[in-house]
Amino acid sequence: MAEKILLKGNEAIALGAIHCGCDGYFGYPITPQSEIMETLMEEKPWETTGMVVLQAESETSSINMVYGGASCGKKVMTSSSSPGLSLMCEGLSYLAGAELPCLVVNVVRGGPGLGTIQPGQGDYFQACKGGGHGDYKMIVLAPSSAQEMYDFVGLGFDLAFKYRIPSMILADGVVGQMMEKVELKPQQPRWTNEEIVKMSSDWATTGKTPNRKQNVVTSLALDAVVHEELNHKLQQKYVQMEEEDVRFETLHCEDAEHVIVAYGCMARICESAVEQARKEGIKLGLLRPITLSPFPRKEIDRLVPQLKSMMSVELSAGQMIEDVKLVVNGRIPVNFFGRLGGIVPSPEEVLEAFKKSI
């Protein structure tokens, strides 16, 4: 019987990192996610697994420490909240360009600017459409429970290393701060240096040995032909991850006439709204994207013919709705309900908005 303990979402991230064999965490305090580093410092994993934990001087430095650690083929991560992520976007673009695997956690708060420390989902565009410069994408996982906060650390690393791209956990202030039971996994050993050399000898800076060419981690390619090839290679990864690694969950979609699309904490609230609608005899379903990038396009496309409408429910002015609309492509109405400023709507409020929309 696996151990179950009560954890905050943020604490679950910290334990998830230690237990999956993470090599290094580099971060800078910011509300509402500071418990991640605080928990790591309290756990002192450098005395048990050998994991490095370091408080950097800024988010800019944190993400570049991640770049350095990732260049060594190590499992390294950082975490922050919205304004901090804006500072990290330069680094994310470099990580993507240099084909480096890593994990970045964003416990989203309300913006723009310093905004509010209350929850938000206004960083969807930044996470899924770039944020930094250039044509790149990341794996973006959207947890809706403390358990998923814990589990997605390991999953995020697995996917990051599968494609050699940055992975992001796009959480929100609710999921980061709420406490739930979390089932813990057995401690995974960290990769040994020998294992890393074996896995990553063609790219990681593990030290140039006589039997191989030097490894150079860079995102620079001044030759236009070479640079176009690099970009095509990146795009190929994004095609492959859309084929192989889309994740989502559905509730009551089999016979649904209307479907709400929601992720993170909003999916939990919409779950209650959908159950209430069903009690009232309304054929409403819920689609919860778990990967926001790659987005569950095929599933939405498959559902559209049976539906009369869809509604995107977000803690934003409407960002994910653009991806829903791209798939629906005008076949049915796509409505929207959202709250801003850190206000989290109740299930009743969502259901009310849905009823008005049809």
């Binding site: 490095v52 420490m65 350095g68 650690g69 390294v76 680094g91 240099a98």
Partner: protein, 253 residues
């Protein structure tokens, strides 16, 4: 005596270290980068640490340092090399980790990263090339540009009231408890090259002694940026740079 009698291994007085690649350097003739690259390659060779050394290259002319020194390299975003080096050294304490940065990279956009890496006393080596100008982007003002010096963005000369003062960042770095060895060197003649090599070697040795950060500034010539011939550039450097950026050890413990 035939030439074949002379070309013999026992008569050889100099050979290029294999750690320095045979790639044709993109640096301008007269530039100091090539000399400093050669010194690093020789030290890596002499210490037998090619497999243990990881270099972090900057944004600027030395972005391509990896083409010339045959070790593993990470190429950093502008100014961030000390952050990369921090993580690399902490994850690989058994490796020799060094950053190679210019004055724009280290003393302007990357001031936070270099200050905090040095203040934490990361056991890394920092090679700081100070030629008082932005070389790669075409000769704009650097934080270390001297007062009165003409650059592409100070066409009438740097004025303290408009552009601020030239920054002696190496003296600032020496104030930080985390640094163990802070020195300012140059490579414009054989004597100075020998001294600079000694300093860089000491810095590399320090990084395995848990003493903190070793910081080696090389006051360098950028004759293209300065619009001078290589010979004139060296003369100008001796006459104008050295009085302000005085050579020698600032801290050694």
């Amino acid at each position: 005596m035939d030439i074949k009698d002379i070309i013999k291994p026992e008569n050889r007085v100099y050979a290029k270290t294999p750690v320095l690649t045979s790639n044709v350097m993109h640096y301008c003739p007269g530039c100091s980068h090539g000399t400093v690259h050669k010194l690093i390659a020789e030290i890596v060779d002499e210490m037998g640490i090619q497999e243990q050394t990881i270099g972090i290259s900057p944004v600027g002319c030395a972005v391509f340092a990896y083409n010339y020194v045959d070790i593993d390299w990470q190429q950093a975003a502008h100014g961030r090399a000390p952050a990369l080096a921090t993580a690399t050294k902490r994850l690989h304490p058994e490796k020799y980790v060094f950053t190679y940065q210019g004055d724009g990279d280290l003393a302007s956009i990357g001031t936070a990263e270099i200050m905090h890496a040095c203040n934490r006393g990361e056991n890394i080596v920092v090679i700081f090339i100070n030629n008082a100008i932005y070389g790669m982007t075409g000769g704009q003002m650097a934080p270390t540009t001297l007062e009165g010096m003409v650059t592409a963005t100070t066409p009438y000369g740097r004025r303290a009231d408009l552009n601020g003062y030239p920054m002696k960042i190496t003296e600032l770095i020496a104030q930080l408890e985390g640094t163990c060895f802070v020195t300012r060197q140059s490579v414009q003649n054989p004597g100075s090259v020998r001294k600079a090599k000694k300093a860089i070697k000491k810095a590399f040795e320090n990084s395995m002694m848990n003493k903190g950060t070793s910081f080696v500034e090389i006051v360098s010539a950028c004759n293209s940026g300065w619009k001078l011939s290589p010979v004139k550039a060296n003369e100008w450097m001796e006459q104008n740079m050295f009085p302000f950026y005085q050579l020698g050890d600032i801290k050694d413990r």
